[in-house]
């Protein structure tokens, strides 16, 4: 088979040639470059007749696939692809090293190593034993399949043999996707016992893959987990599921399926679906699949353009909470919305027209306690909003706003008791407002300051009709984003009425040294209290509670946000804080939430929870991490966890233990322990973190 004649270029200190023998002997810093393969050696002699190179070292060969070969002596083919190398070391993708007494390269594809040591750990003179190594009689690397095959391989950790296998196949570092086992994980759980999870990855063509993870625990729980992913031209889907046969529950088989997908439907529309099914309530939490307490399967279509939004969504709920009866909860909820924004030529400013239908359905048909347990609702809402801003030369901004909301309700199986019927009705809610704003800036030597006072007078109907059963506006929030909204109610059923004065002041300080402080203070003054909101929202009374929201940022590393609602006597209705602090040696994230008890919001007692998670890099390789969630009201820890991880350039080990203290009829407190070890150098998804690489000292 006539091989293509290729040209090689050679550079050396001196070249000797002899007549009639077609030999070329180059010596002194010899370098050969031939179609992407670069060879450096002390001397080579090339024989034109046999087209072979005899090379004496130290020899360095670097080829196109980022593979480096180091050897003392070699006899190679003219194109440098085949041949034998003595006492050589091959380094794949600057990571995985395979050393061998002899290496034989054939057909430009196979590299066979004899009496080999494979490892991706750095070896220092002072401490020549690598963290892990695989010794084997023979290793074959197939450059086309990009796989490495080990014969009679022994895995040694710190020189101690820990695992022997007659045959082992691993992907070389250039492989992104390949069939095969992923790294196993040891899991132990108070209820389930100890078990080893060994995931196996199937590549199904270029656009899909399947991961199957069998998991058997010491207490007899046998589980098969599966993840299937597929990408299409115009979309993608992912299915996660598991089936378990255990003796923890009386069911013979427990299972769950979470499937979701997104598709481009053409003309700018996006379709999404999300299916969530589970066989029994405690399964997800016990096996660590999800801590959701209500399942929502949904299908939705939407399109957003600059001035138009079209969206429709249908959701099916299934509550997993104790004591919830899915027949009397609205488990089927549907919405469709059309929004159009434009600038009316006559009036100027911005107009927004909205048309929306909403419906929710309860399977129950009887409502003995007249609590609306069988109520089915269909609502059609249309609204027109308009706003125009005027900017005066002194920088003052005055805006006029107007809006009218028309909500029509059609009720099926209303409450039996006529006085609480809340039957079909139409609500018309107009608003008019004048807003005055005067942002001021001071560009100081050390910092810039912005002060923005805002006053908004809102006029609206002054009496609540009481015809509408409030189902969608039970959970009301007061924050800096809705100080100047017409209605702070989240939904439609309880639009905020009455004339009021919304006051807001925002002060922002940005220092030139990277400190940023943002402070917003807000308050609502009402002509009369229509008692539309419960006290924990801070919106009750003719004078609302104070809203104070602050954010402190220091460069990219520190960010603290705190939002508090308190009355004149400083008794807090709400106080929430989120803090994140990262430096290159530690990360700390913390949240605090205080909410006053409020039966209307389904919160019989106060909520007071502090949570934090932190990681501290003790040394170059060791990192400690911990997390805690503490409930002050019940004076009890909800969750706590500790973790330790060791990482260097060739291995990553994570050991974590966490305990969840919550109990319910389907879940008891449990401790979860997990150990996972990953060896770097096989497959392209490295373990990252160059800064973890081991350094030889001295």
């Amino acid at each position: 088979q006539q091989q293509a004649v290729e040209t090689a270029s050679l550079v050396a200190d001196s070249v000797v040639f002899a007549s009639g023998t077609q030999e070329l002997r180059a010596s002194g810093n010899v370098e050969i470059l031939q179609n992407g393969v670069r060879l450096r050696a002390q001397s080579i002699s090339y024989n034109g007749a046999t087209d072979t190179l005899v090379v004496t070292g130290p020899i360095y060969i670097i080829d196109k696939t980022d593979t480096l070969i180091v050897a003392d002596f070699a006899q190679l083919s003219g194109d440098l692809r085949d041949g034998v190398l003595k006492s050589a070391r091959v380094v794949y993708a600057r990571q995985l090293q395979v050393a061998a007494a002899e290496i034989r390269r054939t057909e430009g594809r196979y590299t066979q190593f004899y009496k080999t040591i494979a490892s991706s750990c750095h070896i220092c003179e002072s401490d020549p034993v690598p963290l892990w190594e695989i010794r084997s009689k023979r290793v074959v690397h197939d450059a086309t399949e990009r796989q490495i095959y080990f014969d009679e391989a022994t895995l040694r950790v710190l020189g101690v043999p820990v695992f022997y296998t007659p045959y082992l196949r691993l992907p070389d570092p250039s492989v992104k996707r390949s069939n095969g086992f992923l790294f196993p994980e040891l899991r132990s759980n108070g209820d389930l016992g100890v078990g080893l999870r060994t995931p196996y990855f199937f590549t199904l063509g270029d656009h899909a893959d399947l991961t199957l993870t069998p998991w058997v625990t010491s207490k007899g729980a046998r589980t098969l987990e599966a993840r299937y992913r597929q990408k299409f031209a115009k979309g993608e889907i992912e299915l996660n599921g598991a089936v378990t046969d255990d003796n923890v529950s009386n069911l013979d088989a427990r299972s769950y399926l979470f499937a979701d997908g997104t598709f481009a439907l053409g003309r700018g529309f996006t379709g999404k679906f999300d299916v969530e099914l589970v066989s029994d309530p405690g399964y997800l939490l016990l096996y660590g699949y999800s801590d959701k307490d209500i399942l929502d399967s949904a299908i939705s279509v939407d399109r957003a353009r600059r001035d138009e939004y079209i969206g429709a969504e249908l959701i099916h709920y299934k509550s997993l909470r104790d004591g919830d009866d899915n027949r009397t909860l609205p488990t089927l909820v549907g919405d469709a919305t059309y929004i159009k924004r434009f600038s009316p030529s006559s009036l100027g400013g911005i107009a927004t027209l909205t048309a929306q239908t909403h419906g929710h359905y309860r399977r129950a048909d009887a409502d003995p306690t007249s609590a609306g347990l069988s109520r089915d609702v269909v609502r059609i809402s249309t609204s027109a909003e308009w706003r125009r801003d005027w900017l005066w030369s002194n920088g003052m901004m005055v805006a006029a706003e107007g809006a009218i909301f028309i909500d029509g309700y059609k009720i099926r199986q209303p409450r039996a008791n006529p006085t609480l019927a809340f039957d079909d009705t139409v609500e018309v809610t107009p608003y008019a407002a004048i807003e005055w704003r005067w942002p001021m800036l001071r560009q100081g030597a050390r910092a810039n300051h912005l002060l923005e006072p805002v006053v908004q007078l809102v006029l609206s109907k002054n009496s609540v009709s009481g015809e509408v059963d409030n189902e969608d506006s039970l959970l009301v929030e007061f924050d800096e984003a809705n100080i100047f909204e017409f209605s702070r109610a989240p939904g439609v059923d309880n639009r905020e009425l009455g004339n009021r004065l919304n006051l807001g002041l925002t002060y922002t300080r940005e220092s030139h040294s990277g400190w940023k402080l943002g402070l917003t203070v807000g308050r609502i003054l009402r002509r009369d209290d229509l008692n539309q909101f419960s006290n924990s929202t801070g919106l009750t009374g003719s004078k609302s509670d104070w809203l104070v929201a602050a954010q402190l940022k220091v460069g990219e590393s520190f960010d603290l946000i705190n939002r508090a609602i308190f009355d004149d006597e400083f008794s807090f209705a709400r106080n929430e804080m989120r803090m994140g602090w990262t430096t290159d040696t530690f990360q700390l994230a913390s949240t605090f939430a205080w909410l006053e008890a409020d039966v209307a919001e389904g919160r019989p007692t106060d909520t007071s929870e502090l949570a934090f998670e932190g990681a501290y890099r003790v040394s170059r390789h060791w990192t400690l991490s911990s997390e805690l969630r503490y409930d002050f009201v019940n004076d009890r820890t909800t969750e706590a966890g500790l973790g330790i991880s060791y990482q260097n350039e060739c291995a990553k080990m994570d050991l974590s233990v966490s305990r969840r203290f919550t109990t319910s009829t389907s879940v008891s407190p449990t401790t979860d322990l997990s150990l996972s070890v990953q060896l770097a150098g096989f497959g392209a998804r490295g373990i990252g973190g160059g800064s973890f690489a081991r350094q030889c000292n001295g």
Partner: protein, 142 residues
């Protein structure tokens, strides 16, 4: 005391209103963000600047009850915005703002769903307000 109206004559944001054309939204979140940005920065009449905004929204559950029900959610939002000169397409200013809104979750799905959607809308309003503030406080730079 050194403060002067930022939009006033001679103010560093004079003429800024109505001069920024925000890129076309693609999702419901970005639709709401663009609507609030147009409310605060004016609908672009003769735009000098273009603005692209990259949104990242994440929801975290907290306030876990004794029976492991999640009773509170925080919706976290990060917006990285880039102001560019429409003529030269050259970047003029880049800023990052972030904040969170919160909502309670109760046993009532309809109430929780409305609260969740309102929290996302408020998050976009809050991010748009913070972008506007960040622009005004740095208006001396462009």
């Amino acid at each position: 005391c050194g403060f002067e109206p930022v939009y006033g004559t001679g103010g560093s944001a004079e003429g800024l209103r109505g001069s920024i054309l925000v890129d076309e939204p693609t999702t419901q979140d970005s639709f709401n963000l663009v609507a609030q940005l147009e409310k605060r920065l004016g609908r672009a009449q003769a735009p000098v600047y273009g603005m692209s905004v990259t949104l990242k929204v994440e929801e975290k559950g907290l306030a876990i009850s004794g029976s492991n029900d999640i009773t509170r959610y925080n919706v976290l939002g990060i917006a990285v915005y880039v102001l560019r000169n429409l003529g030269s397409d050259e970047q003029v200013y880049k800023g990052t703002v972030n904040t969170f809104t919160a909502y309670s979750a109760s046993a009532q799905p309809v109430a929780t769903l409305a609260a969740k959607r309102d929290a996302s809308e408020r998050l976009m309003t809050a991010l748009a307000d913070k972008i506007t503030t960040d622009l005004l406080i740095n208006s001396g730079k462009f």
